[in-house]
Symmetry: C2
Subunit: 259 residues, 2 copies
């Protein structure tokens, strides 16, 4: 499974301060730590970045890729900042990933950028109509996004469908709907992705990791292709590796947790 | 899911010594601890018990049910010891469970006892031919056992089909076959059970609990009805409770782990 390291986010105080003072070191350290822990992509969440977004994203991409030879997941609602990031991205380390488009026409610009810069893209199965009710609803929205992507010349293989994980503590039945959606996306031959920690949002802090771990294992069992998560959470990564053994993706060896 | 507490086993030195000296206290304490931790059945494994098996099983059943108001899972290959246990069992706390029959004609006596004493029974999907190769093989064996059970008057609802969990470290692909078998048993309307810790047999000790936890969650997702496991392993029980939240078997509350 593809791991997208989530730690470089404007939500984290340390990251925000480093962004504001243009201090690359804390950001580079976080990128390297996640990469060494097994992340295939490093997410770069700069928020809406309404002021100087283009310059910030360019600086972030260059600072991180100076340190790690990994593709980045560019995460902002600001399309021009995103485009600046795509221009700065070193595709030698792999195609970048745009986070994200949806079925809201205001977000189709992200599909256009994916097409223009030969980038991969995360497509949230939400539209203008609000949150999806169940797996079928997610499939309908996914089909609409796929049709629009085809028009714009984005290959299906470059799209990761995201069922939108909702918090289990307030919308418990959605956990099953998202599992079903992951299965249905796979049956369509489409890739899938989740923002894992959404599942435990709002839950007492000491229970979050357990809830994330159990849910991730079930998602993987339904064929999940990628997850945005914290690769520095060793217990979580151990569950990923163990599930991969049961799925036959990894050959069992006594040392499989160290690989 | 039905939890069958596995701790009262002749394999454990403390239990074996208590059995040999007919000291009820250590056994009663283990029974009570498992019951309080959420076990629905207490497994009573006295081994082959070739000498004085009837008297031992009778003493075990009476000692345990003096302390806990739970039905027992009677676990021995000695049919006359097993029958003595069924006679001694207090069915006020629920029907007993026989562990186990299989498709080996020598084990059909256990089905006869289940019929005679209105007991539930675990049916291992193995036959004289040796280990099952895959899920289909397990289904064929299950059908043969079910046909025999019907002849002997054991209701299908009293049978727990056991796919026989094999150790992942030497027979990795069997982990998926057993998951598929659990799903197929459920589709037939049959109950299922596993001896969970078999999956991590032979694995370095510090990894066993992790492997058990991840596998149990996947088994539950496929519809597992019951598991023989260690209910005193809090991390394992927390995974059971969390999986039950995702399956919708438990209503989410911040305190769900304490229930």
């Amino acid at each position: 499974m593809i791991i997208i390291g989530e730690k470089i986010s404007i939500i984290a105080k340390k990251v925000r301060e480093a962004m504001n003072s243009r201090d690359p070191l804390p950001i580079q350290e976080l990128a390297e730590a996640q990469w060494k822990a097994g992340a295939h992509f490093i997410d770069v969440n700069i928020g809406p970045a309404e002021e100087r977004g283009e310059e910030l994203m360019t600086w972030m991409v260059q600072s991180i890729q100076k340190k790690v030879k990994a593709p980045l997941c560019l995460d902002t609602t600001n399309a021009s900042a995103l485009e600046a990031g795509l221009k700065a991205h070193n595709n030698e380390w792999g195609k970048p990933l745009i986070n994200s488009t949806s079925n809201d026409p205001e977000r189709f610009v992200m599909l256009e950028l994916a097409s223009k810069y030969n980038s991969q893209i995360i497509a949230l199965t939400v539209g203008k109509g609000g949150l999806p009710a169940d797996a079928d609803d997610r499939m309908v929205i996914a089909s609409e996004i796929m049709a629009r992507a085809e028009e714009l010349g984005v290959p299906m293989d470059d799209i990761y469908l995201d069922p939108l994980i909702l918090q289990v503590c307030t919308t418990q039945n959605q956990a099953k709907h998202s599992l079903n959606a992951i299965k249905m996306f796979g049956e369509l031959g489409m890739k899938s992705v989740v923002g894992l920690s959404n599942i435990s949002n709002g839950v007492p802090k000491q229970m979050r990791s357990l809830i994330d771990r159990v849910y991730l294992s079930l998602l993987m069992y339904e064929g999940l292709s990628a997850a945005i998560l914290n690769p520095l959470d060793k217990e979580l990564m151990d569950v990923v590796k163990t599930t991969d053994v049961f799925l036959g993706n990894t050959l069992y060896a006594d040392s499989y947790l160290e690989m």
